[in-house]
Amino acid sequence: MDFSIIKRIFRFKIAVQTVKENMKATIIFTLLFSCMAAMYSSFYPMFKDLLADMAEDPEFANFLVGFSGESGDFVSYVGFLNLELYSIFFVLILGIIVAFIAATIISKEIESKTIDLLMSNPVSRMQIIIERFIGLIPMILFINFITMFVVYGVTFAIGENIDFFNLFIAHLYAVPYFLAVIGIALLISTIIDEKMKSSIFMIAILVGMFFLEYISHFTSDYKNIGFLSLTHFYKPYNALKSGNVDANGVIVLLSVTIVSIVISIIYFDRKDIKV
Protein backbone atom coordinates (compact mmCIF):
# COMPACT_ATOMS: atom_id res chain seq x y z
CA MET A 1 0.00 0.00 0.00
CA ASP A 2 1.16 3.47 -0.81
CA PHE A 3 1.61 5.53 2.30
CA SER A 4 3.38 8.42 0.60
CA ILE A 5 0.24 10.56 0.48
CA ILE A 6 -0.49 9.96 4.14
CA LYS A 7 3.13 10.62 4.98
CA ARG A 8 3.05 13.83 3.03
CA ILE A 9 -0.09 15.11 4.69
CA PHE A 10 0.83 14.11 8.20
CA ARG A 11 4.38 15.19 8.66
CA PHE A 12 3.24 17.27 11.59
CA LYS A 13 5.59 20.17 10.93
CA ILE A 14 2.87 22.68 11.73
CA ALA A 15 2.07 20.74 14.88
CA VAL A 16 5.72 20.80 15.93
CA GLN A 17 5.81 24.53 15.25
CA THR A 18 2.67 24.98 17.37
CA VAL A 19 4.32 23.15 20.25
CA LYS A 20 7.40 25.37 19.93
CA GLU A 21 5.28 28.50 19.83
CA ASN A 22 3.50 27.52 23.04
CA MET A 23 6.58 26.25 24.84
CA LYS A 24 7.00 29.36 26.96
CA ALA A 25 3.34 29.48 27.94
CA THR A 26 3.39 25.77 28.73
CA ILE A 27 6.34 26.13 31.10
CA ILE A 28 4.92 29.22 32.80
CA PHE A 29 1.50 27.68 33.38
CA THR A 30 2.99 24.39 34.48
CA LEU A 31 4.95 26.25 37.14
CA LEU A 32 1.92 28.30 38.10
CA PHE A 33 -0.36 25.30 38.47
CA SER A 34 2.29 23.31 40.27
CA CYS A 35 2.59 26.15 42.81
CA MET A 36 -1.20 26.40 43.11
CA ALA A 37 -1.52 22.65 43.58
CA ALA A 38 1.26 22.63 46.17
CA MET A 39 -0.26 25.58 48.02
CA TYR A 40 -3.81 24.22 48.16
CA SER A 41 -2.84 20.68 49.12
CA SER A 42 -0.56 21.91 51.87
CA PHE A 43 -3.31 24.17 53.24
CA TYR A 44 -5.49 21.21 54.07
CA PRO A 45 -4.20 20.51 57.60
CA MET A 46 -4.91 24.15 58.55
CA PHE A 47 -8.42 24.22 57.08
CA LYS A 48 -9.48 20.75 58.14
CA ASP A 49 -11.27 21.78 61.38
CA LEU A 50 -12.58 25.03 59.97
CA LEU A 51 -14.17 23.19 57.07
CA ALA A 52 -15.75 20.67 59.39
CA ASP A 53 -17.39 23.55 61.32
CA MET A 54 -18.52 25.25 58.16
CA ALA A 55 -20.07 22.06 56.84
CA GLU A 56 -22.49 22.22 59.80
CA ASP A 57 -24.02 25.36 58.31
CA PRO A 58 -26.49 24.01 55.75
CA GLU A 59 -26.63 27.22 53.70
CA PHE A 60 -22.91 27.37 53.21
CA ALA A 61 -22.75 23.68 52.45
CA ASN A 62 -25.43 24.16 49.86
CA PHE A 63 -23.45 27.01 48.30
CA LEU A 64 -20.40 24.82 47.94
CA VAL A 65 -22.34 21.99 46.37
CA GLY A 66 -22.56 24.09 43.24
CA PHE A 67 -18.80 24.01 42.91
CA SER A 68 -18.03 20.59 44.23
CA GLY A 69 -20.59 18.71 42.23
CA GLU A 70 -23.17 16.53 43.88
CA SER A 71 -20.74 14.90 46.26
CA GLY A 72 -21.31 17.40 49.06
CA ASP A 73 -18.01 16.29 50.49
CA PHE A 74 -15.54 19.05 51.10
CA VAL A 75 -14.30 18.02 54.48
CA SER A 76 -12.22 15.00 53.57
CA TYR A 77 -8.87 15.55 51.86
CA VAL A 78 -10.19 14.31 48.54
CA GLY A 79 -13.29 16.48 48.88
CA PHE A 80 -11.15 19.47 49.71
CA LEU A 81 -8.89 18.91 46.70
CA ASN A 82 -11.91 18.42 44.48
CA LEU A 83 -13.48 21.66 45.61
CA GLU A 84 -10.48 23.97 45.85
CA LEU A 85 -8.10 22.64 43.26
CA TYR A 86 -10.00 20.72 40.64
CA SER A 87 -13.44 22.31 40.45
CA ILE A 88 -12.19 25.86 40.38
CA PHE A 89 -8.56 26.01 39.37
CA PHE A 90 -8.54 23.15 36.96
CA VAL A 91 -11.96 23.31 35.39
CA LEU A 92 -12.37 27.06 35.33
CA ILE A 93 -9.00 28.80 35.48
CA LEU A 94 -6.93 26.34 33.47
CA GLY A 95 -9.94 25.92 31.19
CA ILE A 96 -9.92 29.66 30.53
CA ILE A 97 -6.19 29.71 29.86
CA VAL A 98 -6.35 26.79 27.45
CA ALA A 99 -9.40 28.34 25.80
CA PHE A 100 -7.63 31.67 25.45
CA ILE A 101 -4.59 30.17 23.76
CA ALA A 102 -6.52 27.75 21.57
CA ALA A 103 -8.94 30.41 20.38
CA THR A 104 -6.08 32.38 18.82
CA ILE A 105 -4.58 29.44 17.00
CA ILE A 106 -6.07 30.13 13.55
CA SER A 107 -7.32 33.68 14.04
CA LYS A 108 -3.84 35.01 14.82
CA GLU A 109 -2.51 33.69 11.50
CA ILE A 110 -5.37 35.33 9.63
CA GLU A 111 -5.17 38.58 11.56
CA SER A 112 -1.41 38.88 11.14
CA LYS A 113 -1.67 37.62 7.54
CA THR A 114 1.01 34.96 8.04
CA ILE A 115 -1.62 32.52 6.74
CA ASP A 116 -0.74 33.76 3.23
CA LEU A 117 2.78 32.43 3.35
CA LEU A 118 1.80 29.33 5.31
CA MET A 119 -0.75 28.37 2.68
CA SER A 120 1.70 28.95 -0.16
CA ASN A 121 3.38 25.74 1.00
CA PRO A 122 2.00 22.40 -0.12
CA VAL A 123 -0.27 22.08 2.92
CA SER A 124 -4.01 21.61 2.83
CA ARG A 125 -6.45 23.60 4.90
CA MET A 126 -7.52 20.43 6.70
CA GLN A 127 -3.92 19.75 7.57
CA ILE A 128 -3.56 23.21 9.11
CA ILE A 129 -6.61 22.64 11.34
CA ILE A 130 -5.65 19.13 12.41
CA GLU A 131 -2.01 19.92 13.06
CA ARG A 132 -2.83 23.07 15.00
CA PHE A 133 -5.15 20.97 17.17
CA ILE A 134 -2.56 18.27 17.70
CA GLY A 135 0.08 20.89 18.47
CA LEU A 136 -1.93 22.10 21.46
CA ILE A 137 -2.27 18.68 23.08
CA PRO A 138 1.25 18.48 24.59
CA MET A 139 0.57 21.70 26.48
CA ILE A 140 -2.43 20.33 28.36
CA LEU A 141 -0.74 16.97 28.95
CA PHE A 142 2.29 18.68 30.39
CA ILE A 143 0.44 21.05 32.74
CA ASN A 144 -2.01 18.35 33.73
CA PHE A 145 0.37 15.56 34.61
CA ILE A 146 3.13 17.67 36.16
CA THR A 147 0.43 19.09 38.47
CA MET A 148 -0.60 15.52 39.28
CA PHE A 149 2.90 14.64 40.47
CA VAL A 150 3.06 17.80 42.55
CA VAL A 151 -0.27 16.95 44.23
CA TYR A 152 0.96 13.45 44.95
CA GLY A 153 4.25 14.69 46.36
CA VAL A 154 2.65 17.29 48.62
CA THR A 155 0.02 14.79 49.81
CA PHE A 156 2.82 12.55 50.88
CA ALA A 157 4.67 15.43 52.54
CA ILE A 158 1.72 16.55 54.68
CA GLY A 159 1.00 13.01 55.74
CA GLU A 160 -2.38 12.66 54.02
CA ASN A 161 -3.44 9.74 51.90
CA ILE A 162 -4.44 9.56 48.29
CA ASP A 163 -4.47 6.59 45.99
CA PHE A 164 -2.07 7.25 43.13
CA PHE A 165 -4.14 5.28 40.68
CA ASN A 166 -7.26 7.29 41.53
CA LEU A 167 -5.32 10.52 41.22
CA PHE A 168 -4.00 9.41 37.84
CA ILE A 169 -7.53 8.53 36.67
CA ALA A 170 -8.79 11.95 37.76
CA HIS A 171 -6.09 13.67 35.71
CA LEU A 172 -6.53 11.34 32.76
CA TYR A 173 -10.23 12.14 32.89
CA ALA A 174 -9.33 15.85 32.62
CA VAL A 175 -7.77 15.24 29.20
CA PRO A 176 -11.07 14.79 27.30
CA TYR A 177 -12.41 17.89 29.05
CA PHE A 178 -9.48 20.01 27.85
CA LEU A 179 -9.63 18.44 24.39
CA ALA A 180 -13.26 19.53 24.16
CA VAL A 181 -12.31 23.04 25.28
CA ILE A 182 -9.59 23.16 22.60
CA GLY A 183 -12.00 21.78 20.00
CA ILE A 184 -14.61 24.47 20.60
CA ALA A 185 -11.92 27.16 20.80
CA LEU A 186 -10.46 25.98 17.51
CA LEU A 187 -13.85 26.23 15.85
CA ILE A 188 -14.31 29.77 17.10
CA SER A 189 -10.78 30.59 15.99
CA THR A 190 -11.59 29.55 12.42
CA ILE A 191 -14.78 31.61 12.40
CA ILE A 192 -13.63 34.87 14.03
CA ASP A 193 -10.64 36.46 12.31
CA GLU A 194 -9.43 38.68 15.14
CA LYS A 195 -7.53 36.87 17.84
CA MET A 196 -8.65 39.05 20.75
CA LYS A 197 -12.29 38.79 19.74
CA SER A 198 -12.13 35.02 19.30
CA SER A 199 -10.39 34.57 22.65
CA ILE A 200 -12.84 36.73 24.56
CA PHE A 201 -15.78 35.05 22.86
CA MET A 202 -14.44 31.62 23.80
CA ILE A 203 -13.83 32.64 27.42
CA ALA A 204 -17.36 34.01 27.61
CA ILE A 205 -18.67 30.66 26.39
CA LEU A 206 -16.63 28.74 28.95
CA VAL A 207 -17.55 30.97 31.90
CA GLY A 208 -21.17 30.91 30.74
CA MET A 209 -21.09 27.11 30.73
CA PHE A 210 -19.59 27.05 34.19
CA PHE A 211 -22.44 29.15 35.55
CA LEU A 212 -25.09 27.17 33.72
CA GLU A 213 -23.81 24.10 35.47
CA TYR A 214 -23.62 25.97 38.77
CA ILE A 215 -27.19 27.24 38.50
CA SER A 216 -28.50 23.83 37.54
CA HIS A 217 -27.64 22.58 41.02
CA PHE A 218 -29.96 25.06 42.70
CA THR A 219 -33.01 25.34 40.54
CA SER A 220 -34.83 22.11 40.00
CA ASP A 221 -36.77 23.74 37.16
CA TYR A 222 -33.55 24.18 35.22
CA LYS A 223 -31.85 21.00 36.27
CA ASN A 224 -31.25 20.01 32.67
CA ILE A 225 -29.47 23.15 31.52
CA GLY A 226 -26.32 21.71 33.09
CA PHE A 227 -26.19 19.36 30.15
CA LEU A 228 -25.29 22.32 27.96
CA SER A 229 -22.11 22.75 29.92
CA LEU A 230 -18.82 20.97 29.33
CA THR A 231 -18.09 21.17 33.04
CA HIS A 232 -21.15 19.01 33.68
CA PHE A 233 -19.28 16.12 32.12
CA TYR A 234 -16.05 16.42 34.03
CA LYS A 235 -16.59 15.55 37.68
CA PRO A 236 -13.27 14.55 39.22
CA TYR A 237 -14.62 13.73 42.70
CA ASN A 238 -15.57 10.12 42.05
CA ALA A 239 -12.34 9.51 40.22
CA LEU A 240 -10.32 10.91 43.12
CA LYS A 241 -12.35 8.99 45.67
CA SER A 242 -12.64 5.62 44.01
CA GLY A 243 -11.14 5.75 40.53
CA ASN A 244 -14.59 5.78 38.91
CA VAL A 245 -15.13 7.70 35.73
CA ASP A 246 -18.43 8.72 34.18
CA ALA A 247 -18.01 6.92 30.85
CA ASN A 248 -20.93 8.79 29.29
CA GLY A 249 -19.25 12.05 30.24
CA VAL A 250 -16.05 10.99 28.51
CA ILE A 251 -18.00 9.98 25.41
CA VAL A 252 -19.81 13.33 25.37
CA LEU A 253 -16.55 15.28 25.77
CA LEU A 254 -14.79 13.32 23.03
CA SER A 255 -17.80 13.67 20.74
CA VAL A 256 -17.84 17.43 21.28
CA THR A 257 -14.12 17.47 20.41
CA ILE A 258 -14.54 15.49 17.21
CA VAL A 259 -17.65 17.35 16.06
CA SER A 260 -15.90 20.69 16.69
CA ILE A 261 -12.87 19.65 14.65
CA VAL A 262 -15.00 18.34 11.80
CA ILE A 263 -17.04 21.56 11.65
CA SER A 264 -13.80 23.58 11.86
CA ILE A 265 -12.37 21.67 8.90
CA ILE A 266 -15.53 22.08 6.82
CA TYR A 267 -15.87 25.75 7.68
CA PHE A 268 -12.23 26.58 7.12
CA ASP A 269 -12.18 24.69 3.85
CA ARG A 270 -14.91 26.92 2.45
CA LYS A 271 -13.64 30.11 3.95
CA ASP A 272 -12.30 32.90 1.74
CA ILE A 273 -8.92 33.99 3.09
CA LYS A 274 -9.09 37.70 2.36
CA VAL A 275 -6.31 40.24 2.61
Binding site: R8, R11, K13, I14, Q17, E21, S112, K113, T114, D116, L117, L118, M119, S120, N121, P122, V123, S124, R270, D272, I273, K274, V275
Partner: protein
Protein backbone atom coordinates in the same frame (compact mmCIF):
# COMPACT_ATOMS: atom_id res chain seq x y z
CA UNK B 1 -0.01 -15.76 -22.92
CA UNK B 2 -3.13 -17.38 -24.36
CA UNK B 3 -6.73 -16.21 -24.27
CA UNK B 4 -8.93 -18.71 -22.40
CA UNK B 5 -11.91 -18.20 -24.70
CA UNK B 6 -10.46 -18.06 -28.17
CA UNK B 7 -7.00 -19.51 -27.77
CA UNK B 8 -5.55 -16.38 -29.29
CA UNK B 9 -1.87 -16.13 -28.49
CA UNK B 10 -0.21 -12.91 -27.68
CA UNK B 11 2.22 -11.26 -25.33
CA UNK B 12 2.17 -8.43 -22.84
CA UNK B 13 4.97 -5.95 -22.87
CA UNK B 14 5.64 -3.94 -19.73
CA UNK B 15 6.14 -0.23 -20.24
CA UNK B 16 9.70 0.98 -20.44
CA UNK B 17 11.01 3.46 -17.92
CA UNK B 18 11.04 6.13 -20.63
CA UNK B 19 7.38 5.60 -21.46
CA UNK B 20 6.33 5.86 -17.85
CA UNK B 21 8.48 8.90 -17.30
CA UNK B 22 7.13 10.63 -20.39
CA UNK B 23 3.61 10.20 -19.20
CA UNK B 24 4.17 11.38 -15.65
CA UNK B 25 6.08 14.41 -16.79
CA UNK B 26 3.63 15.32 -19.50
CA UNK B 27 2.95 18.90 -18.63
CA UNK B 28 6.48 20.09 -19.14
CA UNK B 29 6.75 18.59 -22.58
CA UNK B 30 3.26 18.99 -24.01
CA UNK B 31 1.56 21.86 -22.29
CA UNK B 32 3.21 25.15 -23.05
CA UNK B 33 0.75 27.08 -20.91
CA UNK B 34 1.91 26.96 -17.32
CA UNK B 35 -1.12 28.93 -16.24
CA UNK B 36 -4.52 29.02 -17.90
CA UNK B 37 -7.30 31.23 -16.65
CA UNK B 38 -10.76 30.86 -18.13
CA UNK B 39 -13.59 33.30 -17.40
CA UNK B 40 -12.55 33.67 -13.81
CA UNK B 41 -14.95 35.70 -11.75
CA UNK B 42 -14.89 36.70 -8.11
CA UNK B 43 -17.15 39.03 -6.18
CA UNK B 44 -17.38 39.90 -2.51
CA UNK B 45 -20.96 40.33 -1.40
CA UNK B 46 -22.05 43.10 -3.80
CA UNK B 47 -18.62 44.18 -5.07
CA UNK B 48 -17.38 42.63 -8.28
CA UNK B 49 -13.61 42.29 -7.92
CA UNK B 50 -12.71 40.22 -10.96
CA UNK B 51 -15.06 40.09 -13.91
CA UNK B 52 -14.70 37.00 -16.00
CA UNK B 53 -11.08 37.33 -17.08
CA UNK B 54 -9.15 34.88 -19.26
CA UNK B 55 -5.48 34.66 -20.11
CA UNK B 56 -2.63 32.19 -20.44
CA UNK B 57 0.90 32.34 -19.14
CA UNK B 58 3.38 30.48 -21.32
CA UNK B 59 6.22 28.39 -20.08
CA UNK B 60 9.39 30.38 -19.48
CA UNK B 61 7.97 33.87 -19.80
CA UNK B 62 7.73 36.73 -17.38
CA UNK B 63 4.10 37.73 -17.47
CA UNK B 64 3.27 41.21 -16.28
CA UNK B 65 -0.04 41.79 -14.56
CA UNK B 66 -0.54 45.49 -14.58
CA UNK B 67 -3.21 47.61 -12.97
CA UNK B 68 -3.82 50.36 -10.47
CA UNK B 69 -4.48 49.55 -6.84
CA UNK B 70 -7.87 47.96 -6.38
CA UNK B 71 -8.08 46.75 -10.00
CA UNK B 72 -8.37 43.10 -8.98
CA UNK B 73 -4.76 41.97 -9.29
CA UNK B 74 -4.44 40.60 -5.77
CA UNK B 75 -7.90 39.02 -5.90
CA UNK B 76 -6.95 37.18 -9.10
CA UNK B 77 -3.73 35.91 -7.55
CA UNK B 78 -5.51 34.78 -4.39
CA UNK B 79 -8.03 32.85 -6.41
CA UNK B 80 -5.23 31.19 -8.38
CA UNK B 81 -3.50 30.09 -5.18
CA UNK B 82 -6.69 28.74 -3.66
CA UNK B 83 -7.13 31.36 -0.92
CA UNK B 84 -10.38 32.56 -2.44
CA UNK B 85 -13.04 30.47 -4.12
CA UNK B 86 -14.05 31.79 -7.55
CA UNK B 87 -17.74 32.44 -8.23
CA UNK B 88 -17.35 31.22 -11.77
CA UNK B 89 -14.74 30.10 -14.26
CA UNK B 90 -11.75 27.90 -13.76
CA UNK B 91 -7.99 27.98 -13.79
CA UNK B 92 -5.29 25.46 -14.52
CA UNK B 93 -1.71 25.49 -13.33
CA UNK B 94 0.64 22.96 -14.99
CA UNK B 95 -2.49 21.64 -16.66
CA UNK B 96 -4.08 20.75 -13.34
CA UNK B 97 -7.34 22.29 -12.20
CA UNK B 98 -6.76 24.49 -9.16
CA UNK B 99 -10.07 23.34 -7.73
CA UNK B 100 -8.94 19.79 -7.03
CA UNK B 101 -5.16 19.87 -7.06
CA UNK B 102 -4.16 23.04 -5.28
CA UNK B 103 -1.96 21.36 -2.64
CA UNK B 104 -0.19 19.38 -5.33
CA UNK B 105 0.21 22.50 -7.49
CA UNK B 106 1.69 24.53 -4.63
CA UNK B 107 4.61 22.09 -4.48
CA UNK B 108 5.88 23.73 -7.62
CA UNK B 109 4.74 27.29 -7.12
CA UNK B 110 6.56 30.02 -5.22
CA UNK B 111 4.61 33.01 -3.97
CA UNK B 112 5.52 36.49 -2.76
CA UNK B 113 2.39 37.99 -1.17
CA UNK B 114 1.51 41.63 -1.68
CA UNK B 115 1.23 42.25 2.01
CA UNK B 116 4.12 40.15 3.14
CA UNK B 117 3.71 38.94 6.73
CA UNK B 118 6.44 36.79 8.20
CA UNK B 119 6.54 35.02 11.56
CA UNK B 120 8.08 37.92 13.45
CA UNK B 121 8.96 35.95 16.58
CA UNK B 122 11.24 33.59 14.64
CA UNK B 123 14.80 34.30 13.58
CA UNK B 124 15.53 34.31 9.87
CA UNK B 125 17.10 30.89 10.18
CA UNK B 126 14.21 29.42 12.18
CA UNK B 127 11.78 30.74 9.60
CA UNK B 128 13.70 29.19 6.72
CA UNK B 129 13.98 25.90 8.64
CA UNK B 130 10.25 25.85 9.26
CA UNK B 131 9.42 26.58 5.65
CA UNK B 132 11.91 24.13 4.24
CA UNK B 133 10.36 21.44 6.42
CA UNK B 134 6.94 22.37 5.04
CA UNK B 135 8.18 22.27 1.44
CA UNK B 136 9.64 18.84 2.14
CA UNK B 137 12.05 19.04 -0.75
CA UNK B 138 15.61 20.09 -1.55
CA UNK B 139 16.46 23.77 -1.59
CA UNK B 140 18.99 23.96 -4.41
CA UNK B 141 18.81 27.73 -4.74
CA UNK B 142 18.94 28.74 -1.07
CA UNK B 143 22.70 29.34 -0.79
CA UNK B 144 22.81 31.30 -4.00
CA UNK B 145 19.82 33.43 -2.93
CA UNK B 146 21.37 34.18 0.43
CA UNK B 147 24.48 35.36 -1.39
CA UNK B 148 22.52 37.73 -3.61
CA UNK B 149 20.08 38.93 -0.97
CA UNK B 150 22.13 39.08 2.20
CA UNK B 151 20.25 38.79 5.48
CA UNK B 152 21.19 38.61 9.17
CA UNK B 153 19.69 35.15 9.67
CA UNK B 154 20.49 34.97 13.38
CA UNK B 155 18.34 37.96 14.18
CA UNK B 156 14.62 37.86 14.84
CA UNK B 157 12.50 38.86 11.89
CA UNK B 158 10.78 41.56 13.93
CA UNK B 159 14.09 43.47 13.96
CA UNK B 160 14.27 43.38 10.13
CA UNK B 161 13.66 46.49 8.03
CA UNK B 162 10.95 46.45 5.39
CA UNK B 163 13.51 45.82 2.66
CA UNK B 164 15.02 42.90 4.59
CA UNK B 165 11.60 41.33 5.07
CA UNK B 166 10.94 41.70 1.37
CA UNK B 167 14.25 39.98 0.66
CA UNK B 168 13.12 37.12 2.88
CA UNK B 169 9.91 36.98 0.86
CA UNK B 170 11.93 36.64 -2.33
CA UNK B 171 14.22 33.98 -0.87
CA UNK B 172 11.42 31.75 0.40
CA UNK B 173 9.60 31.98 -2.93
CA UNK B 174 12.57 30.86 -5.03
CA UNK B 175 14.55 28.62 -2.67
CA UNK B 176 13.04 25.27 -3.67
CA UNK B 177 13.41 25.94 -7.40
CA UNK B 178 9.69 26.10 -8.28
CA UNK B 179 8.53 26.00 -11.91
CA UNK B 180 6.28 29.00 -11.45
CA UNK B 181 6.70 32.00 -9.17
CA UNK B 182 3.75 34.31 -8.54
CA UNK B 183 4.71 37.75 -7.28
CA UNK B 184 2.27 40.35 -6.04
CA UNK B 185 3.99 43.75 -6.24
CA UNK B 186 7.31 42.29 -5.10
CA UNK B 187 9.36 45.46 -5.47
CA UNK B 188 7.28 47.40 -2.96
CA UNK B 189 9.59 48.26 -0.08
CA UNK B 190 12.82 47.56 -1.97
CA UNK B 191 15.21 50.49 -2.34
CA UNK B 192 16.25 51.40 -5.93
CA UNK B 193 19.56 49.58 -5.66
CA UNK B 194 17.88 46.42 -4.48
CA UNK B 195 15.20 46.80 -7.13
CA UNK B 196 17.87 46.75 -9.83
CA UNK B 197 19.42 43.69 -8.21
CA UNK B 198 16.01 42.04 -8.17
CA UNK B 199 15.30 42.82 -11.86
CA UNK B 200 18.68 41.37 -12.78
CA UNK B 201 17.92 38.30 -10.72
CA UNK B 202 14.55 37.85 -12.46
CA UNK B 203 16.14 38.13 -15.90
CA UNK B 204 18.64 35.44 -14.94
CA UNK B 205 15.87 33.22 -13.62
CA UNK B 206 14.04 33.68 -16.90
CA UNK B 207 17.11 32.49 -18.79
CA UNK B 208 16.97 29.32 -16.70
CA UNK B 209 13.45 28.78 -18.01
CA UNK B 210 11.51 29.72 -14.92
CA UNK B 211 8.00 31.04 -15.49
CA UNK B 212 7.09 34.14 -13.53
CA UNK B 213 3.88 35.99 -12.93
CA UNK B 214 4.65 39.55 -11.99
CA UNK B 215 1.92 41.82 -10.71
CA UNK B 216 2.65 45.53 -10.49
CA UNK B 217 1.14 48.96 -10.73
CA UNK B 218 4.42 50.44 -11.99
CA UNK B 219 4.55 50.40 -15.73
CA UNK B 220 8.26 51.09 -16.15
CA UNK B 221 9.27 47.95 -14.28
CA UNK B 222 6.88 45.78 -16.24
CA UNK B 223 8.35 47.37 -19.37
CA UNK B 224 11.82 46.50 -18.17
CA UNK B 225 11.42 42.82 -17.33
CA UNK B 226 8.23 41.35 -18.75
CA UNK B 227 7.66 39.59 -22.05
CA UNK B 228 3.92 40.03 -22.15
CA UNK B 229 1.57 42.10 -20.13
CA UNK B 230 -2.08 41.96 -19.18
CA UNK B 231 -3.67 45.22 -18.13
CA UNK B 232 -6.50 44.95 -15.64
CA UNK B 233 -8.86 47.76 -14.72
CA UNK B 234 -11.92 47.53 -12.45
CA UNK B 235 -11.82 43.76 -12.66
CA UNK B 236 -11.76 43.70 -16.45
CA UNK B 237 -8.87 42.67 -18.64
CA UNK B 238 -8.47 45.64 -20.98
CA UNK B 239 -5.32 44.62 -22.80
CA UNK B 240 -3.17 41.57 -23.31
CA UNK B 241 -0.11 42.23 -25.45
CA UNK B 242 3.53 41.55 -25.79
CA UNK B 243 5.65 44.43 -24.56
CA UNK B 244 6.89 45.04 -28.12
CA UNK B 245 3.37 45.38 -29.46
CA UNK B 246 2.56 47.74 -26.71
CA UNK B 247 5.58 49.85 -27.58
CA UNK B 248 4.70 49.84 -31.29
CA UNK B 249 1.28 51.00 -30.42
CA UNK B 250 2.37 53.93 -28.44
CA UNK B 251 3.41 56.00 -31.46
CA UNK B 252 4.64 59.59 -31.35
CA UNK B 253 3.42 63.05 -30.67
CA UNK B 254 4.64 65.53 -33.29
CA UNK B 255 4.24 69.30 -32.85
CA UNK B 256 5.11 71.70 -35.63
CA UNK B 257 5.01 75.47 -36.02
CA UNK B 258 4.56 76.48 -39.66
CA UNK B 259 4.17 79.69 -41.60
CA UNK B 260 0.39 79.87 -41.86
CA UNK B 261 -2.00 77.06 -41.02
CA UNK B 262 -2.28 74.87 -44.10
CA UNK B 263 -5.74 73.27 -44.33
CA UNK B 264 -4.27 70.07 -45.75
CA UNK B 265 -2.70 69.42 -42.36
CA UNK B 266 -5.23 70.87 -39.93
CA UNK B 267 -8.15 68.85 -41.26
CA UNK B 268 -6.36 65.53 -40.66
CA UNK B 269 -8.23 63.58 -38.04
CA UNK B 270 -5.24 63.04 -35.77
CA UNK B 271 -4.35 66.72 -35.79
CA UNK B 272 -5.36 69.65 -33.67
CA UNK B 273 -4.26 73.23 -33.44
CA UNK B 274 -3.03 74.51 -30.12
CA UNK B 275 -1.61 78.03 -29.67
CA UNK B 276 -0.40 78.21 -33.23
CA UNK B 277 1.18 74.76 -33.06
CA UNK B 278 -0.23 71.86 -35.00
CA UNK B 279 -0.14 68.66 -32.98
CA UNK B 280 -0.27 65.18 -34.50
CA UNK B 281 -0.61 61.84 -32.78
CA UNK B 282 0.81 59.08 -34.91
CA UNK B 283 1.02 55.33 -34.64
CA UNK B 284 3.59 53.38 -36.56
CA UNK B 285 5.33 54.92 -39.55
CA UNK B 286 5.90 58.69 -39.35
CA UNK B 287 7.45 59.10 -42.79
CA UNK B 288 4.28 60.11 -44.77
CA UNK B 289 3.47 62.81 -42.27
CA UNK B 290 6.98 64.26 -42.28
CA UNK B 291 6.89 64.34 -46.13
CA UNK B 292 3.62 66.27 -46.02
CA UNK B 293 4.99 68.74 -43.47
CA UNK B 294 8.15 69.25 -45.49
CA UNK B 295 6.15 71.01 -48.23
CA UNK B 296 5.69 73.95 -45.88
CA UNK B 297 8.07 76.32 -44.15
CA UNK B 298 8.84 74.85 -40.77
CA UNK B 299 9.57 77.32 -37.97
CA UNK B 300 9.89 74.77 -35.22
CA UNK B 301 9.33 71.06 -34.68
CA UNK B 302 9.12 68.79 -31.63
CA UNK B 303 8.86 65.02 -31.75
CA UNK B 304 7.93 63.20 -28.59
CA UNK B 305 7.48 59.50 -27.94
CA UNK B 306 4.29 58.49 -26.28
CA UNK B 307 5.34 57.12 -22.96
CA UNK B 308 3.92 53.79 -21.86
CA UNK B 309 2.37 55.82 -19.11
CA UNK B 310 0.28 57.63 -21.74
CA UNK B 311 -1.00 54.34 -23.10
CA UNK B 312 -1.50 53.05 -19.64
CA UNK B 313 -3.56 56.12 -18.79
CA UNK B 314 -5.61 55.59 -21.91
CA UNK B 315 -6.41 52.06 -20.80
CA UNK B 316 -7.17 53.17 -17.31
CA UNK B 317 -9.41 56.02 -18.27
CA UNK B 318 -11.31 53.65 -20.54
CA UNK B 319 -10.15 55.55 -23.60
CA UNK B 320 -8.80 52.67 -25.63
CA UNK B 321 -10.38 52.15 -29.05
Amino acid sequence: MTCEKCDFKGYYRFKTVEEIFEKSDFYSSEISNVLEVRNLRKSYKDVLAVNSISFNVKKGEIFGFLGPNGAGKTTTIRVLLGYLRPNAGEAFIFGKNIKDNIVDIRKNVGYIPGELALYEHLTGKQFLDYFSSLRNTDLPLLDNLLEIFELPLDKKIKTYSKGMKQKMGIIQAFMDDPDLVIMDEPTLGLDPLLQQKFYKFLREEKKKGRTMFFSSHILSEVDKICDRVAVIRDGDLVALESIENLKDKRGKKIRVKLVGEPKELTIMKNAKVVDGWIEFETEGDIDPLIKKISKYTVLDIEIQEFSLEDIFMRYYSGGEE
